[in-house]
Subunit: 213 residues, 2 copies
């Protein structure tokens, strides 16, 4: 397989137009699309080829309501940490699409999966959580390519989530994902546009000598 | 921006042909390509738009030698956990491209970045590490689109890495990345092909009622 400029352009467009979406239409997502997204997620890198992500598709209204309650409580605690203008700015941000997104997923990491036989995670157990994060990012890009938006919600008490879904021992909450047709499109992160946090440059430092940069 | 089947096909090919590469040619990677990869990495999702990944490009031979030593020690400890046929299989796996990869990166997470103002990580500080993992995955796909391979090495003692690079307080080691032209291409993970861990299906469980699946 030889990749060319058309692949690079397509990836660049997907990366540029991927957003953390919080404004959804209520139009449903069809089953075949969901199956394609699941297949794409399986192509994510994973330590020891272990695929430790576990996904629950949550339709039950009472479970969704409990998650919204968890978010509301965690968000109020988080908001209390800011004051003055920043507190006002925080309250103006829309931080989740829990109210409308037609598909909502609870993602966990199985922290001791038999798959992979422990390879690569003896020294760094966190590699399992890294694998789940990469799988979520894969889903994000695959959703974008289907003209869908995904929003990742982490203003939640993870232990409450684990209890709510009565997950097996060893499953650790990773994220709540809202998925659906975005209400609008934008190539600039909402937090940048809202004045909360601009896109900041990052640098790669070169270490050419032993004595530091 | 409306995505079509050409975007979906390009992403699918990139995901399918992305591998954890351990066999590299020693051909160098030019600076412009590295700059494009850095720009792509900046398009990764990050909690509160914080971009908490910190990247060191390590050229110094004495630093690379110290990393190889860290790997050798950690790998010997990991190998000792297996016995019988699995121990033999472990020893036959090539687990790193540290010997030849022309570009080698130490990636850290800044665990208390000023950027993002704490947004979204009060309840789940791990979201910063998730952001770094997603940035690494972004780099992985962008490298693949440039016909480059990337290998992620985690059989390393993370604290030894932090000490070796004398990183600022709060930087946490995430991964060592080997980058370069792959010696060969394959659409099946090496660990699957080597008989260590096949590709296992994953399932998305549906939760339609409060009482469980």
């Amino acid at each position: 397989m030889e990749f060319d400029s058309s692949h690079r352009a397509a990836l660049w467009e997907l990366l540029t137009w991927r957003r953390d979406v919080r404004h959804f239409s209520t139009d449903p997502v069809d089953e075949q699309t969901l199956e394609r997204l699941q297949s794409a997620m399986n192509l994510a890198p994973s330590v020891g080829n272990s695929r430790p992500w576990r996904v629950l598709m949550v339709d039950a209204p009472e479970l969704r309501a409990a998650v919204r309650e968890n978010f509301t409580a965690a968000n109020a605690r988080a908001a209390a940490l800011y004051d003055g203008a920043q507190a006002d700015a925080y309250r103006r941000l829309k931080l989740a699409g829990l109210d409308r997104a037609p598909v909502q997923l609870a993602v966990f990491t199985e922290t001791s999966p038999p798959e992979g036989h422990g390879l690569g995670r003896q020294t760094m157990p966190d590699t399992l959580r890294q694998s789940t994060a990469m799988a979520i990012h894969t889903l994000w890009l695959a959703a974008r390519a289907e003209n869908l938006g995904l929003g990742m919600v982490s203003i939640l008490d993870p232990h409450v989530m684990e209890a709510l879904f009565d997950v097996p021992e060893g499953w650790e909450f990773a994220a709540w994902l809202c998925l659906g047709h975005p209400a609008f499109q934008d190539d600039t992160p909402l937090l940048h546009r809202a004045g909360w946090q601009e896109n900041m440059p990052t640098s790669w430092q070169r270490r050419s000598g032993a004595a530091g940069p």
